[in-house]
């Protein structure tokens, strides 16, 4: 019987088998790299906002407490966004002619909320709650980064599940005294682990890793 395949098909077969393995491997690697770029994770990307609101100005230089504007953060799952009236407590008197504040004044005039662009968000199948984290000594800057130095707000962490779990399996790495939770410039001490373990006992912090903690 005559050979069906020519001799050279052996090489083609080999090349295509090994080639496929290499291509799949490379693709996997490339996907992994792409997935960690800020294009995908959105970390460090300043979002355009209807008003160029600056935390650096308000929380940093003016020294306003986060709760002046995010007033439900201690008692609710949502941190709460300031209603326009909160801006107007000051901007009814300050920078009243500034062009860049026109959307704020228009919003107050017409009772139409300003629609801020979301910066941090978890998918709908994840349950997140601010109040518990603050009550157990997790500070704003641990999750949101140096907010008081941001001219336009950007996301500091991926908010991926592995990021949540990194802390939930070992909260002692991040805990701070409750009195420092709102401190925008807090620096962890050198003996963070010792402090963290002490605080875990004091605040009765559990390591919550059951799936139903966050997926309920």
């Amino acid at each position: 019987m005559a050979q069906i395949f020519h001799h050279s098909t052996n090489t083609i077969a080999r090349v295509s088998i090994y080639g496929a393995v290499i291509i799949v491997g490379l693709l996997g690697f490339a996907l992994n790299v792409v997935n960690q770029t800020s294009y995908v994770t959105e970390v460090h990307n300043a979002r355009p906002q209807p008003v160029p609101f600056s935390h650096k100005h308000h929380a940093g230089e003016l020294g306003l407490d986060c709760r002046y504007c995010h007033s439900s953060v201690e008692v609710s799952s949502s941190a709460g966004m300031p209603p326009t009236q909160t801006c107007m407590t000051c901007h009814s008197q300050i920078w009243t002619n500034a062009e860049m504040l026109e959307p704020v004044r228009a919003s107050y005039r017409d009772s139409k909320p300003i629609s801020w662009t979301r910066v941090n968000a978890v998918p709908d199948f994840v349950y997140f709650n601010h109040s518990i984290h603050l009550a157990k000594g997790v500070g704003c800057t641990t999750c949101h980064g140096p907010v008081a130095e941001m001219n336009i707000t950007w996301r500091a962490e991926t908010l991926y599940m592995r990021w949540c779990l990194d802390c939930h399996t070992a909260p002692e790495k991040y805990l701070r005294p409750r009195s420092e939770v709102f401190n925008a410039y807090y620096q962890p001490p050198k003996d963070q682990l010792a402090l963290g373990e002490k605080l875990m006992k004091e605040y009765k912090v559990q390591k919550l890793t059951a799936c139903t903690t966050c997926h309920r």
Binding site: G63, L64, Q85, P123, D124
Partner: protein, 202 residues
Amino acid sequence: MSNPQPRMAFRGARVLAGLALLLACAGCRQDMHVQPRYNPYDPTDFFEDGQSARLPVEGTVPRGDLKLGPNELFYTGKVDGQASESFPFPVTREILDRGRERFNIYCSPCHGFSGDGDGMIVQRGFRRPPSLHEDRLRNAPAGHFFDVITNGMGVMYPYGYRVAPPDRWAIVYYIRALQLSRQASINDLPDAEQKKLLGGTR
């Protein structure tokens, strides 16, 4: 006898299509990520004002929030329509600490940390509020402060929507403590504290 070349090409195309499909999947992000429900602050096109969160109907009274009878003092700072001299509950150390914390968050930007009216925002051009230590305000009834926090006054906007009634009273207690601190003499302190303050001099 068939020619192998077209079959190879067909297989290659299938592999490519499969890979493309894989890539496309990595890009999908709908399904359970965005569920048909509203999260806080989500917009909607159902209501005219575009907000999914609704305001209570005009005149709604939260349960237990009836501003009449025994509750009038607690929720309005008034008794029979007059600013009350007295507080609805006695002061404790915790209440004073809470009052200080809340005062520093919501009032100190304008009134300053000690109530002199020289806060950061005033330094940036906001109208200077009166000092909380002036005689008129030292003699003002507690209910007056409660009312100013709740409803605002002049160019000062209301803070009632951000500061709950118990916290408003805590702030008023703290303002009283600030006022007292300017009027107190050393003899008002307990013996132990006097000794500490004067150190070895007595």
